[in-house]
Amino acid sequence: MVEIDVSKRLHSAEGDIKLKVSASFKRGDFVAFFGESGAGKTTILRMVAGLLKPDSGRIAVDGEVWFDSHEGVDLPPQKREVGFVFQDYALFPNMSVEENLRFALQKGGDPAIVDELIDTVGLGALVSRYPSALSGGQRQRVAVARALVRRPKILLLDEPLSALDHTMRSKLQEELADIHRRFGLTTVLVSHDPSEIFRLCNHVFKIEDGAVIKEGSPSELFVKERIGSSFKFTGEVLAIEKCEMVYLLSVAIGTQIVKIMATKNEREGLKTGSRIQIVSKAFHPMIFKIES
């Protein structure tokens, strides 16, 4: 169980905001903090990691208190068992891929895990390369592998895929989901991309102006009914579920995710990541005023 209940005054370019967040989730969860940039998502992650001190509150992981302003507990980052993947990956430029991972080993740690992780993320051919000679996707893989060397209790991902192109993103999303399962991790993702969250996470906290304004499963938060009369949308298939006689497709259209039904014929040839066009016909378009 991970419990976060912290508050902190932040000085940002748009003036001071008060961050007050409480969130809790179970071991093994893949959760997301979702929101606009500047909402305070990364700040929450940094407070969990111990890189930033909350003004007050409490952070506890599996019953172990990492921060408690009342009891005066504040474990340094070194003592918190956390793997952190930075937005810029923060690979050490003076070390090769393998050295980056070996550096992460604790004294007396088992070096076998380094080779296992290198295998898992498929970097076997690149072990002696330096970070400057790696592509964005490769750097991201090294950063994730390095964060896992110490077998952390929680893996924190700060917009880990935001600097990558579309194809690389969906490939790495799959890999992240796979790593999460394989190492039995509790993973926290910070992201402003609903389709990424939909694909990876089982629980979302929506952050706005420094507070959790909504939480729930990705479909509860993101899926809205789409109404239209002969409207066309292009989108990306995120998931395909079989539902009795038909199939249920989760599709990302723009920044929204919708669930639509598909027949067996329509479903054929589609897989996760396929780009599709959806045409919808209705006799009576309904109009809702959203702003006068």
Partner: protein, 225 residues
């Protein structure tokens, strides 16, 4: 002027520069690390003190050091009576003066290089459970090699060329405090231009070669990155 006197002066000059550079490596790097990390209120004061030798006439610093080192005063008396050595007009006095005077030349390049490294490097190493010392030696210093080299060489070259402070606190004792820059001044005063030229030329050639080497090494380092 004998050859022996020339070489002993040259040897003394480079010994002073080497010892000063070594001491500044030991003290300057931790100081630069502290200044690059610190948000303390006394940091501006420390920074000012470190930078003072850049703007202060060497004679001012030399004058106060001379007063401080004098056995008439508390610090000088403490050195002489408790520690058993005299700083004024001695080699170790010169070393102390040069260390203070060359401090900004070591601290500034290292400090600004450390500050220009992304903060996430330090944070990533912290997340991997590494101590401050490990982070400094394994992560930060290896990534600022060009600036380290610049700091070392400029400190060395600057100490070789120092005149005012040395003159004030060292005087002109052959084999003890008579360094090349003082010797040049001395020879010119005695209208001994040939000897002055001899010193000057060697200094010129040596400093030129050292600086050229630094720029060449740094260029190849940057190309590798």
């Amino acid at each position: 002027m004998s050859d022996a006197a020339f070489w002993s002066t040259m040897a003394l000059t480079f010994k002073l520069a080497s010892v000063t550079t070594l001491i500044l490596l030991l003290f300057g790097i931790p100081l630069a690390y502290y200044l690059s990390m610190s948000r303390s209120r006394i940091k501006p004061v420390v920074e000012t003190v470190v930078s003072m030798p850049l703007v202060l006439p060497p004679t001012v610093l030399g004058f106060y050091l001379l007063v401080a080192f004098s056995p008439e005063n508390a610090f000088g008396r403490f050195c002489e009576e408790v520690l058993g050595f005299r700083l004024v007009f001695s080699f170790w006095g010169l070393v102390l003066g040069s260390v203070i005077f060359s401090l900004p030349f070591m601290v500034h390049p290292v400090q600004s290089a450390l500050q220009s490294l992304p903060a996430s490097l330090t944070e990533a190493a912290q997340m991997l459970g590494k101590s401050k010392t490990t982070i400094l030696f394994r992560v930060l210093l290896p990534n600022i090699k060009p600036s380290l080299l610049t700091g070392i060489v400029i400190t060395f070259a600057h100490t070789v060329g120092e005149f005012g402070v040395v003159l004030m606190i060292g005087g002109n004792i052959p084999g003890e405090t008579r360094v090349a820059s003082i010797a040049i001044y001395d020879e010119v005063e005695a209208l001994n231009y040939a000897a002055a030229n001899h010193y000057a030329m060697v200094l010129f050639a040596v400093t030129f070669s050292i600086l050229l080497l630094v720029y060449l090494v740094n260029r190849s380092f940057l190309q590798k990155m």
